[in-house]
Symmetry: C2
Subunit: 303 residues, 2 copies
C-alpha cells in the first residue's frame, strides 16, 4: 500500500479545541514519535491565539520526539480545528503561511470521527467546551450543533457553566429558585454578590464558563434540583443529537471530550447503550486525515 | 433655592446604553438648549467606544444649542451609564480625563429613576438592549438584574434575540420544535443554513442580538408557540422583578427602554396596572443628578 518513502514520511496530527491543542508526530514505520500540548485553538475566539497554540504544541511534539525544530518543514500536517466549519475561518486558516511541508485542514469533528473509528465510517459526539455531532457513512457526512457559544453548544461544558451562572444570578436576586450552586459559586468567585460574580465572568471566553461545569455536575449528583434540571436538559439534547446521527446508520458511535464520561449516565438508556469507546484520539485521526489526503493527492497526480 | 450664577450654569445630562447615547444641555434659566445622539455607550462592551459616543453626543448637543465646541469646558455633566454598577468600570470612567468643568457619574438606572419621577422617589425597570430594575426610596436604593449579556439581562431585547436564535438553530438541526422564526431568520440573514446564521452572529455584541427582538415579538403576536414561550418567559421575569421592587413601596413605578411598550401587554395584570408613564427621559434625570450633586458639593464646602 505505502512505498518505502511513505513509510518514513513524518506526519503531525493536530487537534485544536476551545481549551487546548494536542499534536502527535507519527510515521508509518515507527508509530508515534512524540506528543505536544498547547493552549486554546478555536479560531472563532482568536486566530492569532490559535496559530500560536498550534506552534507551541508542534514544537513540544518535535522536542518530545527528539527532533530538531527545523524538522517542522518536513512534516505533513493534518489539522482538525473547532470553528472551521464556518467558511470564513476555514479560509483564514488555509491562507496561513504555515511552516509545514504540506497542511491539510478539516474540522475537529471530522478528525475526531476518523480517529474514533480508526479511519472507518462512524459517528461521534464531541462534548467538551463546546458540543457537536458528526457522522461519516459511505462518503456522506452529516453534522449537528457546533454553532458556538452562547447561541449553540447545548450540553457542553460552557453551556452548563452559563446556565448555572444564570440560575445563580437569579437566585441571588431572589428572582429564581434556590440552588446549592449559589453557595458554591460564592466560594469559587470569593464574593457574596451576584454583581461581583457577574463582573468576573463579563466578557470571558467559553473556556472560562466550561471551568464551572464540574461544579454543576457535582451539584446535580448531590440532588440539587436546579443543577439537576440543567444537566438533564443538556443531556437530553445530546441524546436527541445521537438519535439523529444514528438515523444514517453509522457502524459505530463514540463520545469524545471532557464531558463525554460525566454525561454518559444522564443520557437516554437506549443511546447510552450504543456509545462505544473511541479507538484512537482525535490527534491520531488528524494523522490519518493527513495520510489519506496526501495519498489522494498523489493518486490524482499519478492519474 | 438657586442663586443667579446657578440659574445660568449649563448642565449636560448624558444617558449611555448598549445601543445609543443621548445628551441634553440644560440650564435652569432657559430650560433645554439642545440635544445630541451618539453610538453605543456601555463600557462593558468597550471603554473607548463609550467615551467616543459620549463625545459625539455632547458635540451634537452643543451644535444643536448653537454653542461653540469650546463651551464643553464650562458644562457640569451628569453621566448615567450602563455597566458602571461594576466597580472596575465605575473607576475606569471616573479616571477619564474628561473635558467638562465637572463630571458626576452614576448608573443609567439611577438617572433613569431620577428622570422618570422628576427627582422624587420611585422605581424603574429598564428593558432595552439589557434589563434591570432599580428603586430609590427614602435615600435607600435596591436593584435587580443588570448582570449583562449573556449571563443576565433576561427579558431584554438582546435576551429575546439570543433565545430566538438558539430556538432557530435547534429547529434547523431538527433538534427542537418548529418555529416561524426560522423562516424569518433565514430571510433576515439571507442564508438557508443554521451555520450561516451562526457565523453571522458569532462574536456579535448584545446590540446585534437586540436587533432580532422585534421579529420575536411579532412572531409571538402572530401565535408562534416558540416565540410566544420566549416572550412570556422574559415578561414573567420582568413581572417578578417589578414585584420585588414594589416591596420597598416606591410611590411610582415606570418602565423605560425600547422593550417597555411592547412588553407591557405580556406582564402580569397586577403589575401592568401599576406601571406609570415616566415623567422625564433618563438624560434629563442625568441633568437633575448633576444639579443635585453640584448642590450637595457646594453645601459641603459651605458647611
Amino acid at each position: 500500500m505505502v512505498d518505502g518513502a511513505s513509510q518514513k514520511q513524518l506526519f503531525i496530527g493536530i487537534d485544536g479545541g476551545g481549551t487546548k491543542c494536542r499534536a502527535t508526530i507519527y510515521c508509518a514505520e515507527r508509530g508515534i514519535l512524540g506528543t505536544g500540548l498547547g493552549g486554546p485553538a478555536n479560531p472563532l475566539h482568536g486566530l492569532e491565539r490559535t496559530l500560536e497554540s498550534i506552534m507551541v504544541s508542534t514544537q513540544q511534539a518535535l522536542r518530545d520526539a527528539g527532533l530538531s525544530l527545523q524538522t517542522v518543514h518536513t512534516l505533513v500536517a493534518g489539522l482538525g480545528l473547532a470553528g472551521v466549519n464556518l467558511p470564513t475561518l476555514y479560509e483564514q486558516i488555509s491562507e496561513w503561511q504555515h511552516p509545514f511541508k504540506k497542511m491539510y485542514l478539516t474540522t475537529d469533528l471530522h478528525t475526531a470521527c476518523i480517529g474514533a473509528h480508526e479511519g472507518e465510517d462512524g459517528a461521534v459526539i464531541i462534548t467538551g467546551t463546546g458540543s457537536c455531532g458528526f457522522a461519516c457513512v459511505n462518503g456522506e457526512s452529516v453534522n449537528y450543533g457546533g454553532h458556538g457559544f452562547a447561541q449553540g453548544d447545548k450540553g457542553s461544558g460552557a453551556w452548563l457553566g452559563l446556565e448555572a451562572l444564570k440560575a445563580v444570578l437569579l437566585d441571588l436576586d431572589g428572582l429564581g429558585p434556590h440552588t446549592q450552586l449559589s453557595a458554591l459559586f460564592k466560594l469559587h468567585f470569593n464574593t457574596d454578590s451576584g454583581m461581583g460574580i457577574a463582573e468576573q465572568m463579563a466578557g470571558q471566553p467559553s473556556s472560562s464558563y466550561a471551568k464551572l461545569a464540574r461544579m454543576v455536575l457535582d451539584a446535580a449528583d448531590k440532588g440539587d434540583h436546579v443543577a439537576n434540571a440543567i444537566v438533564k436538559d443538556g443531556a437530553h439534547y445530546i441524546s436527541m443529537m445521537a438519535k439523529r446521527l444514528l438515523e444514517v446508520n453509522p457502524p459505530r458511535l463514540s463520545m469524545i471530550g471532557g464531558l463525554a464520561q460525566p454525561l454518559q449516565k444522564w443520557l437516554d438508556v437506549d443511546v447510552a447503550k450504543k456509545v462505544q469507546h473511541p479507538k484512537q484520539p482525535p490527534e491520531l485521526g488528524a494523522v490519518y486525515f493527513a495520510q489519506q489526503s496526501l495519498a489522494n493527492e498523489q493518486q490524482k497526480v499519478a492519474n
